[in-house]
Symmetry: C2
Subunit: 156 residues, 2 copies
DNA sequence: GATGAAACTTACATAAT
DNA sequence: ATTATGTAAGTTTCATC
């Protein structure tokens, strides 16, 4: 599905704040309620808008430690990569995971209360699947954490 | 503010899906509507719940490339770090930024349409502030992208 | 904390233009 | 696409226990 300027403006607005009522959203994007509502619904049904979620401060939940873990595979087989993906899905502390084109095969962002919490995750991974190496970079400070994607709402 | 088991359950539920109506939320956490609503409001006003946002598929917006950029500071002065933080705030393509305790001083997650888009961000950074080094790791694939924090809703 | 209900807002659907 | 309208559903507040 192609997204025009109005669709992108709807998406940008809802990425910033999903609580804006339809009437105001329609006003922002320059439509009346009915067509605006149809677009929102279409964006949801087509999967452009995946969900609406609450953004919560991790510190306030006692989740003060973020670790970027690099994991390299012991072998370049599809089955290993598949199993690894399934394993990550089962570990909620693994917030994000990317396969890289660099030194390490994967980078994981792991969120835990403290160092002991991280070590538990590290163990859980190494006991569940063979890995060649796991490196860990600990975050001292979070400068920026954005959920809204950088979308251009001006051009056609 | 201390969060009890019910607060954590409210937060966990809304992190998974912020569209659940209050009546159902109350039912899930085992409260009636009014006290449940008061808790939600308190969680919002105290900043535990920061926002409610739409989660959007980056691919569908033409944002197919994620880059993890490592940036090291040329000097360890507070003013450099302050300026760097301000600079990152001005660049929407920089989704997340963490100061690390590892090799590189910072890691940035940058989301752009393509390699050219990344190079523009890289240039913008190096022209705005002196850096010792910028490394780039390109994501081949995103295995997991979670917004809900790993929170324990069972213990007291 | 629970209940019940009023007052208000929003979502959703439909019809006419 | 617009305006208008109507109903259902959800939110918020309040009084009472």
């Amino acid at each position: 599905m192609e997204l025009d300027r109005i669709d992108r403006k709807i998406v940008a607005t809802l990425m910033a704040d999903a609580t804006v009522p339809l009437a105001r959203l329609a006003d922002i994007v320059g439509l009346s309620q009915t067509p605006c509502w149809k677009r929102v619904r279409r964006l949801q049904e087509s999967g452009v808008i995946r969900a609406r979620v609450a953004v919560v401060d991790p510190e306030r939940l006692g989740l003060g430690l973020t670790v970027f873990a690099g994991v390299s595979a012991p072998e370049q087989t599809p089955s290993w990569h598949d199993r690894f993906g399934e394993l990550l899905d089962e570990i909620p502390e693994v917030m994000d995971a990317y396969q890289l084109a660099g030194n390490h095969d994967y980078v994981l962002r792991i969120v835990v209360p403290d160092m002991a919490g991280f070590d538990r995750i590290r163990q859980r991974i190494t006991e569940a699947i063979p890995v060649r190496e796991i490196s860990a970079n600990f975050a001292l400070r979070r400068l920026k954490a954005q959920t809204a994607l950088p979308i251009d709402t001006k051009s056609a």
